[in-house]
Amino acid sequence: MVISPVHYIALPLLAAFLIPLFSKINRELVRIVPGLVLAYLSAVSVILMNRVIQTGQPIIETIAGWRAPWGIDLVFSPFTGFLASIMTFMALLIWLYSYRFKKVDHEPALKYYILFMMLVTGSTGIVITGDIFNMFVFMEITAIASFSLTSFYRDRDGAEAGFKYLLIGSLASTFVLLGILLLYSQVGTLNMAQIAERMHDVPSGMKITILILFATGLGIEAEMFPLNGWAPDAYSQSPSPVGSAFAAIVVKAGVYSLIRVIFTLFDVHGAYEFLIIMGIITLVISEFTAMKQTNLKRMLAYSSIGQMGFVLIAFGIGTKEAVFGALFLMFNHAVIKSLLFMSGSYFVYNNTSKEITDLSGMGKKFPLLAFFFAIGAFAIVGLPPFAGFWSKLYILIAAADNSLLGLVAIILMVSIIEIVYYFRVVAKLYFGKPVEESITHKPTIGGYISMSILAAVIVIVGFYPDIVTGFLHNAADALLDKSGYINNVLHGAGELVKL
C-alpha cells in the first residue's frame, strides 16, 4: 500500500459511505470511526510531511493515471501539506471535543459525524488539489456540509443562519464557476500550473474580469469584507464544535484558495495592494463591530473575521517575511480560536442568548475552563510569551521593512481594541459577581484533553517558536516559488515512493 495524499480524500469518503452500515452493528461505531479515520490521517500527515521536508520535493500525485495537465493531480508541497496537516490535526482535536458533547438522537448523530468528516475532507481537498474545477467541487462539498451543520440543532435561528449562509455561499460558487468558465475559454485547460503558465497570453481586461469573479467568490469563503455577512450568524448558531471547525478549518481553506489564485494563477498588477486594502477594511470594521457585541460567540466570530483580514494584509505585503508571518498567524489562529470557542462555549452551554454578561464569575465555578479561555485571549491579542505574539511581531517587522508605517500604526491601534474587548470578557470571568441561576454543564473528558493540548501548544510555541518556524519557512518558500510549482507539476518526476 502506498501512503499518498489521496488518502486524505478517499479514506474519509469510504468511511462516510460505510458509517450507515456500521451503525447497524453498533451505534457507538458512528462516533468512533471518524475519530479513527482522522487519527490515521494525522499519522499520514506526519509521514508525508517528513518525506516532503527530507527530499525537498513536493509530492505530485496523479489521479486515474493521467499526468498533470490531462488529469487531476494532487499537490502536497511544504505549503499545501502544512495546511492540510494543520487541518487534520485540528479536526482530530475537534472530534475529540465533540465526542459526546451534547446528547442527541441516534440519527442526527450519524448525520453529524458524516457531515463533519466531509467538512474536513472538503477543506483538505481544496488545499491539496491542483485542478481548479476539482477545487470547486471540494468547495461545494465543504459548503453543503457547512450549511447543514449550521442548522444542525434545527432551531429557528439555526435554520435562518443556515439559509443565509446557503444563499451567500451558492452565489459565491456561481461566481467561481463563471470565473472557471472564462478561464477555460481563454487557456483551454483546468490544471492550475498550466493555467499559471499560459496566463500571460490572456488579454489584461479579461484577466481582471476573471480575477474579480474569483476574488468575489472566494472572498465570501475567506470572510473578506463586505462579503462576510454570513459568518457571525453561522458561527454563533452552529453547534460549538462546528464553530471551532469553521474557524480552524473552513476559513483556512477559503483563504488558501484566494491566495493560491492571486499568487500562483494571476500576475495582475495591483492584486497585492487590493489584498492589503481589503484586509485593512476587514480588520478595522470587524474589530470595531466585535467590540460592540454582547453575544460571546458573535464576538469571537467578528474577531475571527478580523484575524482573517490581518492574514490578508500580511499576504498582500507579499515579501517572504510577510508570507511567513501570515502562515504563522493562520496556524496560531487555528489553534487559539479553537481553544477560545471550545472553552467559551461551555460558559454559555445551555444558554440560548449567549450573552457575555452571563459569564460573570464563571472563573470561580470553572477555574480550568476560565484559565484556558484566558490563555486563548492573551494569546490572540498577541501578548508575550504566547504563540500569538510571534506572528504579530513578524508581520509588523515585515510591514516596517517595507516602510508601510501607516499599516503598522493601524495594526497597533486595532490591537488595542482587541485587548480591550478580550480583557473585558476575562475580567468579567474572574472579577464579576457570580450569576447564580445560570445553568452550566461539566465538560467531557475528551473536551478537557483537546483543550489542554491546544493550550499546551500555545504556550510551547510561545516559548520555542522554532518548533514550527522550520515548517513555515519551507511553506512560505513553496508558496512564493511560482515557477517551481509549475515545473514540479508539469515536468516533475511525480513518482510515488512505496513504503
Binding site: F133, V137, E140, A143, I144, F147, S148, S151, R154, D155, R156, D157, A159, E160, A161, G162, F163, K164, L166, L167, S170, L171, S173, T174, L177, L178, I180, L181, Y184, S185, L190, G229, D233, Q237
Partner: protein, 128 residues
C-alpha cells in the same frame, strides 16, 4: 440568409438567454422577499451559468462527442466534434446545483415550520 447575420442572431440568442437568466435570477435573489422565490432565483442563475458553459464548448458544425463506427470515419475525414470538457463540467454542476436546491428547500420547510411564514420580512430574528 447571410451567414454573418445568422451568426450574430444565434450568438445573441444563446448568450442573451444565458446572461438574461443570470441577471433575472440575481434580481430575484436580491429583491424578492419570499424564501421560495429566492431559491427559484438561485436555480435560474444556475441554469444561466450551465447554458454559458455549453455555449463556450460549442463549435460550429461540430458533432456530439460520441464515436459511432461511422463517427470515427467522419472524424478521420476531418469533421470536428464539440469540446467535451464543458459538457462534463456541466454534468457535475447540474448535480451539485440539485443538491444545493434540495438543502435550501429543506431549510425553507424548517423555517416555515418555526415561523409559520416564508417571507423574510416576517422572519428576521437575526440581522440580515
Amino acid at each position: 440568409m447571410d451567414p454573418v447575420l445568422y451568426n450574430k442572431i444565434v450568438t445573441f440568442d444563446i448568450y442573451g438567454s444565458a446572461i438574461g437568466l443570470i441577471l433575472i435570477g440575481l434580481y430575484a435573489l436580491l429583491v424578492k422577499k419570499h424564501l421560495i422565490k429566492m431559491v427559484i432565483g438561485l436555480s435560474i442563475i444556475d441554469s444561466g451559468v450551465n447554458l454559458l458553459f455549453i455555449a463556450v464548448g460549442f463549435i460550429k458544425g461540430g458533432t456530439a462527442p460520441i464515436f459511432s463506427p461511422k463517427g470515427i470515419e467522419l472524424v478521420q475525414k476531418g469533421v470536428t466534434m464539440v469540446d467535451p470538457v464543458p459538457q462534463a463540467l456541466v454534468l457535475t454542476a447540474i448535480v451539485i446545483g440539485f443538491g444545493v436546491t434540495a438543502v435550501a428547500l429543506s431549510l425553507v420547510i424548517r423555517l416555515y415550520r418555526h415561523h409559520n411564514t416564508a417571507r423574510i420580512d416576517n422572519i428576521k430574528s437575526l440581522k440580515w
